[in-house]
Symmetry: C2
Subunit: 195 residues, 2 copies
DNA sequence: CCCTATCTTGACTGCCGTCCAAGACGGACC
DNA sequence: GGTCCGTCTTGGACGGCAGTCAAGATAGGG
């Protein structure tokens, strides 16, 4: 039982570490950032990190949670936009975390905590895509496959950052499979941007 | 200039190292396999590897080349099968190299040799997909996006091994966008060209 | 004033990729 | 046959890494 409490202080220091790790993991890379660098950026001793986090993977999970929570909070303000625009926005919003995407896949095979986070994230992404595809009129029988393709395409776009035009093309085609631009009501056909 | 030559011996030892590395990289993982383990499996001293390969990344490239060459040789005997079957076969053929796929993406950002191999491989995959999509009647205007989606879906399937049924579903939908395959209901779109 | 829980740290271990300089092998040349 | 020199192999060492341990700091409660 905590006899004394300095909750604010504790949370602050933890957040500082996570913030420093977020910047270094996304900018420099996970394997490429030693714990000493995170500690230096956060202004603590290296081993202090090990009081707050079991190991480097646990710190990575904290970083992922932070980044995902931020992105979801931002996404909450966009639910009124059309389906494919939301997708495009999400991809561009998350593109800077490309290195996190790769490291999650790399460590899923060897780290149970990362694997659990990865599975949770896929469930979340699949749920969100299911809603979008349903509203876009994708028939129920091909819904599962469409969702999988959607997840893979989004991951691919994050893994291989490309031009804005090519992103737009890919997401248009993904959101309106078959190249047919007639859709059920509620999802108006957009004018094609770019040429 | 080589005064004496033992080409067979040299090639053999090199191949032994690459074979051992292939098995360990695909089975155990790249980061999880120390050079000492590769050396032990190949029956040489650890540092002997550094005579044949500049560093661990160069060895990885040799492994990738070997695996790709084998796969392409196998694929050469399948060119008469239908388009989606070829795709499915390729995915199942390459699925065991899932860990190689992840490590290539992880190291692309920091290793120039891996990055170059990765870029070459994408070009190859895109060329092969282009032929398939063209023959499947995908219109020229959405060809680029279709190819990108194809690459991403294949990578996704390799990265996230799933059931045979789900693989089949995804590839069917990928190879016949719009759902105009043999699905009876909900068929609101037709292919554009009959050829 | 001391006890105890919370928090921080320096010193250390073991493993890793990689480097270096010395050694072993076997044709080439006199 | 002895010497030389490329080709190939290796033991030993170095620096950097994640993670451990036990000692120290801090501050409220009795």
């Amino acid at each position: 039982m905590p006899r004394n409490r300095r909750p604010q202080n504790r949370e602050e220091k933890r957040d500082e570490i996570v913030a420093a790790a977020t910047e270094l993991f996304t900018g420099t890379g996970y394997d490429e950032t030693p714990m000493t660098a995170i500690a230096a950026a956060a202004g603590v001793a290296t081993n202090t990190i090990y009081w707050y986090f079991k190991d480097k993977d646990a710190l990575l999970v904290a970083v992922l949670d932070r980044v995902l929570a931020e992105a979801l909070a931002d996404a909450g303000t966009r639910t009124d936009e059309p389906w494919s625009d939301q997708l495009l926005w999400a991809v561009e919003r998350l593109e800077r975390y490309s290195r996190l995407v790769t490291v999650v896949h790399a460590r899923t095979a060897i780290s149970p905590v990362i694997d659990a986070w990865h599975a949770d994230f896929h469930r979340l992404a699949e749920d969100m895509l299911a809603g979008g595809f349903r509203s876009a009129g994708v028939p129920e029988e091909s819904l599962r496959a469409s969702i999988q393709i959607g997840v893979f395409v989004i991951e691919g776009l994050l893994l291989h950052p490309g031009s804005a035009e090519s992103r737009r093309e890919v997401i248009d085609l993904l959101a309106h499979p078959g190249g047919d631009r007639r859709h059920p009501p509620g999802d108006r056909t957009r004018t094609r941007s770019g040429g």
